[in-house]
Each structure stands twice: as C-alpha cells, then as structure tokens.
Chain length 313, copies 2
Amino acid sequence: MFKILDCTLRDGGYYTNWDFDKSLVHTYLNSLNSLPVEYIEVGYRSIPVKDYYGKYFYSPVYELQELKSLTNKKLVIIFNEKDIRVEHVADLLLPIVGIVDMVRIALDPQQLGRALKLAAEIKKYGFEVGFNVMYMSKWKQYGNFVEELSGLDGLADYFYMVDSYGGVFPDDVKQTMDLIRSKTDCKIGFHGHNNLEMALINSLTAVDYGADIVDSTILGMGRGAGNLKTELLLSVLNTKYKMDIDFNAIGNVVDGFDKLLKKYEWGTNVPYMISGSNSLPQKDVMDWYTTRVYSLNSMVRALQNQKNNIKDN
Amino acid sequence: MFKILDCTLRDGGYYTNWDFDKSLVHTYLNSLNSLPVEYIEVGYRSIPVKDYYGKYFYSPVYELQELKSLTNKKLVIIFNEKDIRVEHVADLLLPIVGIVDMVRIALDPQQLGRALKLAAEIKKYGFEVGFNVMYMSKWKQYGNFVEELSGLDGLADYFYMVDSYGGVFPDDVKQTMDLIRSKTDCKIGFHGHNNLEMALINSLTAVDYGADIVDSTILGMGRGAGNLKTELLLSVLNTKYKMDIDFNAIGNVVDGFDKLLKKYEWGTNVPYMISGSNSLPQKDVMDWYTTRVYSLNSMVRALQNQKNNIKDN
C-alpha cells in the first residue's frame, strides 16, 4: 500500500503567511491521528529573513516538540533549496534530531546537483530525505537533470514529481515515471496541484503505476488552485481500496479549515486553469488578472508568447 | 471533433428553481455565441404540476422564441421521462417545431422500453433525439436494459451515459462504452458529475475513446456536486486540441454565474464525495448530513448497509 503525506500547514501557509490558530492545529493533529496518513509536513525550516513570516515558516524547536507530543505520526519539515546551503544544515537540523523524521528539499530541477550535496549533509543527522522536484511538465527540457538522477540512489528516500503548474495528465505521469525509472531505483512520490481538477486522477495513476507516496492537504489548501484534497483521496480509498476511514475525524478537520477556505478562497478558477493548461506560473496569471488592465484574451496571448519566447506585438 | 452541449440553465435550475435573471441569460447566450459549443439545453418542457417551478422548468414558447433570436446555437429541451407520456408529446412539441433542434429524454434505465416509444413519437416532429440514461454505475445490474439497447438504432441521435452519482472512473467509462457498442451503433455522449472531481478526465476519456458529445455547465452549476465545468473543458481544449478559445467570453459568463455560486455554493464536499464513491444518491447523504443528527461514520455505515440491503443495527 502506498503512503500519504499531509502537508496542509506547510502548503496552506502560503495563504496565512504560515500562521495558524493553535486550536485549529490541535484539531488537525487530533483528526489525523485517526486517519491513515503516514507523514505530517508541518512547515519550512528557514534561515532568518527580513520580511515577516509566521511560525510554520521557521518551525521552531519548541513548536515541533509540542506537535510531536500531540501526534502519533512521523513529522516532516521542508527546506527551500534556493535559500539553504550545506553550511546551514547543522544549525537547522541538530536541534530537531529525534523530533522530526523526514527532511524534504523543494528544488528547481536545474539545481539537482546542489541538492544532492545538501541531501548528503542531511543524511548525516539520520533523517529520511525527500526530494520535491518542481516543474514536472518541463523536465524533458532539462537534459542534464535527467542524467544526474542516478545520484539519488542510496541517498533519497523519496523522489517526488511536483506538478507545479497543475497541468499534467495521467499519461504524463506514467511517462515521467518511466523516465525516472530509467535512471534511478529511488521510491517515487507525486505532489499534485488542482488547476485542471487532475490532482486525484494523477495521484491514483501514480500509485497504480507503482508510486510509493502522494501528498495531499485538507480541503486542498495550498498555493493558487491548491492540492489534492486529503478528504477526497480518503473517500476514494474507502471504496476503491476497502480501507477503513474515520469519517467523523474527516468531518472535524474539514469543518475547521472550512473557515479559512471561506476567507482565502483557494481553489481553481479561469486564470488558474489557463496557467495550468499552458504550464505558466499561476502567480503571473493571477497578477495580470487581478489588475484587470488586460483582457483575458490579450493576457493569454502575451503569456503564451512569453512561454514561446516570442516578443509581444 | 466531438461536440459540446452546455446545459447550465437546465441543470443549474435545480438551485434556482429554474428561474434566472434575464440579463444573466443574455450574458450567457452572448458569451456562448463566441465559444465552440454546439447545443444549448435551456430547460425542461413539462406538463403543469401543482408546486411552483420557474420559467425554465416549462420553457414556454415565447421564451424559446426569444432565446432563438439571441443565439446562433442549436437549442435543446429535455423531458423527464417519468412524467411525460406519448399522449403529451403533441402539446409539448408542436408549438416549438423550428425553434428547438433537439429533445432529450432523461430516464431511469429500467424505463428504456417506454422511452423508446416516446422517442418514436418525438421523431415524428422532426427533432433530433437524445437519451440521457441515469445511474451509469449501476447499469450492469440491469440485464434487460442492456439487451434493449439495439432499439436505439435509427431512433436516437445520441445515447448518453449519465454518471448520476459522480462516482465512475475512466476505466468504467471505457467498459461502459464497450458494453453499449456491443448492442448499438448509436453515437455516444457523456454527462459527468463532479463529486470525485472526475468529470473532466471521464469526459476526456469518453471522447478519446470515441464519444461524440459531452455535457458541461458554466462553473459546473448543477445538482449537488455539479457538472463538468464548461470553462475547464474549453481551457484544456485550447492547449490539448489547439482550439481557438475566446477567453474574454468565458470571463464574462463566469463572472455572471459567480454570484449564483457564492449564493448557492454548489460543488463537491465530504457528503457528496461519500455519495459519489459509494454510488449513493447525493440527496439522501445531504439530507442526513444537514440535519446533523447522526455522525458521518454512522451515516456512512447506514447508507452502505442500505445499499447492500443489510438492516441497520
């Protein structure tokens, strides 16, 4: 059976600036304790930055200790590869040895070489290591990256395909898995975005095709169009895989996050659909859209030109 | 290329009791005029009933005439088979000959025999005829129904699989299409519900496997969890099938219906996911859920017992 990693606080933090009410976090952990989720990713560990970011952007030790006391699940934190270097690792990880089980690395595929060195350093402290490699729909353009995948063997516990644009289809998932397997034996994970409402079928396709782990979040809370919904995945597992599911626990945690959904209104919409189906960054599309200076048509034309490196006319 | 039938007013009417503002209907028709939609299903034609139902439950002749003057698309109305008999057809259809192009029949598969007689009568007036056959996920249980499918040849222009519970997966779509094709040469359509966010992938699977037509609605407006979203389908067609799409038109009509979405909040949620993945009527699940007398767990257990004909304990 494959594993589920719930990353509601980490990915949902893009909406709340990584602050969450204590009582909601307790409801969340308490509910997940009764559900077949293996890992809980609670936030980033980060070096200090100038702008304000909330608690789960730094995941301080006292907080991780409290979370650890409240859950029977494995805890996960994630590094943003672009900000973290080998020399930061000791300070960030030594204090959380024995509290956190896995450290993930979110990376641009073009930085795989640098991430492999970071992973080797993380491994010294005994953590499981996951690679969350972004821009899956563009990997074919990164030749070197694919050749370097053999470096994962013996180092990475999970290698995730991240559908950053929410634009891949089940056949793309299978083709990408074939590509990965031609280079490495690493266990494969999938992190889906829901711009085209493909997160569930892509995740199910990945696990049917042998993936070991998928990410999901409560109500799909996550950047832009959001992620695979944990409650949707579990509802399907209940019938398709005959798995016992505590729907009361699902009801409690969904009710808790529903207030945030009403406030922040994540989920797909026309600009996110356009960005997804064109592999365009959803931030660009939303920025253009919310200013309303351009019509949707001229926006789509300009963004497609940008993607194809054609100057706007 | 396959065809699209937009049935926003007909299926969305479940939320508005089939009343819509005139200005919204004009925005809708005006936008759809610029989009690659072949048919617009505007509502039911019905014999008078005691309770109040709005305009698009009856689709009166003066209204159909006005709509006809505002659109370059083919107009469609639908009959609820359980309420309409052969003797009603003349009254309901004679006045709209030359205005409406297709008449669809929404039916329980166990009434296929009766519906075939109704279709023969409708054909006399020169309309295209579509069969919208409900409960697709349960067809295998209806042996007689499958044997009668050969009666469609030369009579039905489209035979729709309706995923009433929103619970089928792409492989189910293909298997059902194989079953249909073993009995009839009729063109096949798909009407998807979105309980499990499967409406798009199921629709794309159907057309990749040779279906001729799919239904969709603006913002997925429709009973319970709603339908395939027209704007999502068109966004994907723009990239996957290189089809020119007027996104300004999409933006206009989506903005118009967004007010109704905020008010009625259709779309999937945990009860609809449960009903979808268990092939249970979403109305039953929502009724139980909104009363909140039972926990989600006892509700799921009771409904699954009901489905399996086991007495609750």
